[in-house]
Structures are given as structure tokens and as C-alpha cells.
Symmetry: C2
Subunit: 169 residues, 2 copies
């Protein structure tokens, strides 16, 4: 099965992100708004138990931290993904690094640019049109993140939560 590790921000920030995702994100119905800490990788149910145990240890070693977002950015021209830019912090980068280190395998394909996707699978002209409106949007939001989630994907493509891990506990 496919699994992945994400942060779900507060309900408030998810509702805000969904107001865009509904129109612009092809994966709107498959997963709630999230910040990916470890991209999807293949595993099985036995390994899932070991992964959980490792994640519990990692969560204990990292404290809750502030997540701040203040603008909408895009990965264009690499791809046409539009996202809420999340300010990099030492805590977030430390967590990302440990979740993507050797012992887990599946090292990341890209440098870590913390973000919450709000648009994807847009054509070049759609992207240009949507992003030209959204890039000027003023956002100022800070919240505390105290957990992350291990997800698995069902056969219909929808992601469900296997387990929550509380930071610093």
C-alpha cells in the first residue's frame, strides 16, 4: 500500500485552503489540505507497524512549533502547482530531515519547500490566469503545529489516517 506523512494544519487554515482547492486542485476530494513531510512510498502492513514505532520515537524528539504562511506562490515553470508558502523554520526542517533520512529509505526527489497545495493539474493558461489573481492576495497566518499524521491510500485513491504522532510527547 502507498503511505505518506503529512501535517494537517488547523481546521481554519484547511477551510481557507479548500476555498481555493475546490476550484483549482484536482486532488481536492482525495485528501484534506496538508503539508507533505514525506512523499508517498510503498510499504506493507507489517512494515507499517515498524514505521509507526519509528515515528513515535521521532515525534518525541521534536517539539511543537509555529507554522507561518503569508503568501501564495507557485512552482511554475517546474510545474503548475500553486500553494500557500510556509515559512521554513529550523523545527520544520529538522523534522523533514529526520523523516527523509536513510533509515526510512525513499529519499526526497526535491529540496524541501514547505507548502500547502491549493492548485494543481492546471494548464499553462489556467495557471497564469489563477496565479496572477492569487499572488497579490495578502495572507498573514500563524498557528502552532503539535502533531503529524501517517496516512495510507485506499484503492479508490482517497487517503485515510493510520496514526497521529504528537510532537514532544
Amino acid at each position: 500500500m502507498q503511505v505518506g506523512i503529512v501535517i494537517f494544519p488547523s481546521k481554519k487554515l484547511q477551510d481557507f485552503a479548500n476555498s481555493y482547492r475546490k476550484r483549482y486542485d484536482s486532488k481536492y476530494s482525495l485528501i484534506p489540505p496538508h503539508l507533505t513531510l514525506k512523499a508517498a512510498f510503498e510499504t506493507n502492513e507489517e512494515q507499517l507497524v515498524e514505521i509507526s514505532a519509528k515515528l513515535e520515537e521521532i515525534a518525541k524528539r521534536h517539539e511543537p512549533f509555529e507554522l507561518r504562511t503569508n503568501k501564495i506562490s507557485s512552482f511554475h515553470p517546474v510545474n503548475n502547482v500553486i500553494y500557500l508558502k510556509v515559512e521554513p523554520t529550523a523545527e520544520l526542517e529538522g523534522l523533514f530531515k529526520e523523516l527523509n533520512s536513510g533509515s526510512f529509505g525513499n529519499p526526497p526527489e526535491y529540496a524541501f519547500v514547505p507548502h500547502i497545495t491549493i492548485g494543481q493539474s492546471l494548464s499553462n493558461s489556467e495557471h497564469a490566469d489563477v496565479f496572477s489573481q492569487l499572488r497579490l492576495q495578502k495572507i498573514e497566518h500563524t498557528e502552532t503545529i503539535d502533531r503529524f499524521h501517517l496516512l495510507y491510500q485506499l484503492d479508490n485513491g482517497i487517503w485515510n489516517v493510520y496514526e497521529t504522532f504528537l510532537l514532544g510527547k
Copy 2:
């Protein structure tokens, strides 16, 4: 915000339930297949922290248990819900009772009939048609349940997981 407490069965059982839900369940896209332990109730973010603390205590006092389903049933004529019938066990009933006792408020409206919904919002004739086919289906499935989930509902109607609670830990 609306919150609720559910058991998500294994991916295997969820995929099986979804094969029916896709056609027959009006809430297919809002929540993965689940067994409701406590129906949706209204709360706020501060109370959510207290609820989590209580749920952690309750989870510790209950051990993992076997979930067995062997037939498809219906609540008709009370309503046109078709479901995987889950065999009642002392463990499941004990957990339900504690999650629906006075300290949580919101006592249940119905007696506890453990089930995983696979069809709802069906007209009488649709219900009769679908159920006449499904009632004869032979199912024999047993699995271990070692966790339950506290969910909250986003503004778009989709449920997300706030926290997982591991039984007996």
C-alpha cells in the same frame, strides 16, 4: 465544530465496503468506511483538547479486540441504511458505553447496533432492489481492532482525523 468518534477497519475491509459505497452511499466522498462509536456532536477547539485527554484515558482502559462481520443487513423500515453487520462483543460494547456516558454528554439516540454503512439515502424501491441482492452475499471476515479515531468535519463536509487513540496503551 462537529466532531465524532469512529473505528476505521483495515484497508482491506474499507476497500471492500467502498466497492458498494461508491454506488449506494451518499456520503461516500465525505468519510472513509467506518464504525461509529459516538455520533457527531458540536464542540470547540478548547474542548477538543479536554476530549483528547479523556479519550487517551479511555483507550488505555480498553484492550484491542476482534471485529467480525459475516453479513449485510438493513435498518429498514426505520431507515434505508444498508450495512455490514458487526458482531457485538463485550469489548466493543464496553468501549461504546464509556464513550457515550454522562461525562461526554450527547447520549446516543439509538441502541448500539455496531455496523459499517455501505448504503444510505436510497429510495424505498432502490433499497428493496439493492438489499435483495446484497442480503444473500456471504461474508466471513475477522480482524483485530487496536485503535479508534477522533474526527472533525471541515466546512466542505469532509471529515478529517484529529487524533488516533491506541487501545491498551
